[in-house]
Amino acid sequence: MAETDAKSVREALREYEASINAATSMIRGDLERARTMVRDATARLSRSFDALHNAAASQRAALQSVATAFYDSEGNGRSFASSTEALMRQFVDEVVRVSRDSVRIIDQLADLSQRVSGIVVSADAIDGLARETRFIAFNARIETHRAGDAGRTFKVVADEVKRLANASSTLSNQIRQNVSECNTQLAQVHKTSAGLASHDLSRAIESHRGLSGAIAKLDTVNQELDGMLETVSTSVSEAVRALQFEDMVTQILNATVQRVERLGEFSVRAVQIMERAPQGDRATPLTALVEEMRTLGDRVAVQQSTVDHGSVELF
């Protein structure tokens, strides 16, 4: 009867040992899976953050190259903005120079016009002289009539004087006509020069203002971009540092695996004591075993060397 009982106990103990081993290996497998999952997830997150960081950096480089093309902070005159500004300034200078020269031409035309008016006065004076000469010729002719035959030759002279006076009048008329044509042409030059002198500068001002505005805006965007990229960079570094929890989780899982294995070991040893030691000699090794089992509750130090220096006791 007692032998049968002892046999049953042995069988039960063996089954208990097998169950403990099975449970231990199952827990070890689960913990190993958990460790793999954490490692994979961390690696994936780390890659994502790296990609995010790189994308932000290339975005910054692309925008900076655009900004540099438009605006050169060193002002060495090669950038699009500064060369456009220089071109605009050159254009305005040229317009102003042409205007000044056109106004100067018009001033000179006014002086010229005054001199031309002087020619008309001279032509009028010639007319006056011709009138007087004609009058003298007319009087001379009357005198030749009175003189009869004696005055015949003098009549030829008087006619000649009249012809010369008429020729002078024709000449002064021609001068007047030429002056009139000259005045028409002067008026034309005046009109053309006035057109050359007059340019509206509003559009140049608008363009200049637009360009300055665009440069200022780019400058602001560039500064904002620097700030944003700094934030992204800081956040990514923070995230990458936070990912180091994987290390801590792995340490805890390792400690847990060790603990579970030791628990199994203790159980096996307890079974062996129960199985092999004679009935009166079980208490001493069991007490020693229980004493040893107390060390299972000792804390495990988790190293946190990278997040911040020193170690933190989590268990």
Binding site: V92, D93, S99, A110, A197, S198
Partner: protein, 100 residues
């Protein structure tokens, strides 16, 4: 467009521009300075000018040449709005004493 010329003293002439300062002012503007005694100081008052174009800039440059030959001085006062912008874009600050 209109010009009011005030001979403040024997040595100072104020040319006040009213409305548009463009080519239409040319004759009276020239008259305003050619008759002044040599060595005169000129003040172009833009307080009531609403607009100026490149012809006005050309006239101002010729006034400056005239004044420099005569040993006088020229300044532009009361510039605002469009007239101030035009003077600025033409870089007239390098050539004239300009007051807003």
């Amino acid at each position: 467009m209109a010009l009011e010329t005030v001979r403040q003293s024997d040595t100072c002439t104020v040319i006040k521009v009213v409305g548009r300062f463009d080519f239409s002012c040319h004759a009276s503007f020239r008259e305003a300075y050619t008759g002044a005694p040599s060595g005169s100081e000129f003040v172009v008052d833009m307080g009531e000018a609403s607009y100026m174009d490149s012809a006005a800039l050309g006239m101002l440059l010729l006034l400056r040449e005239h004044v420099q030959q005569q040993g006088g001085r020229v300044s532009i006062t009361n510039c605002r709005g469009q007239t101030y912008d035009v003077l600025q874009i033409a870089n007239f600050h390098r050539l004239f004493k300009i007051a807003q």
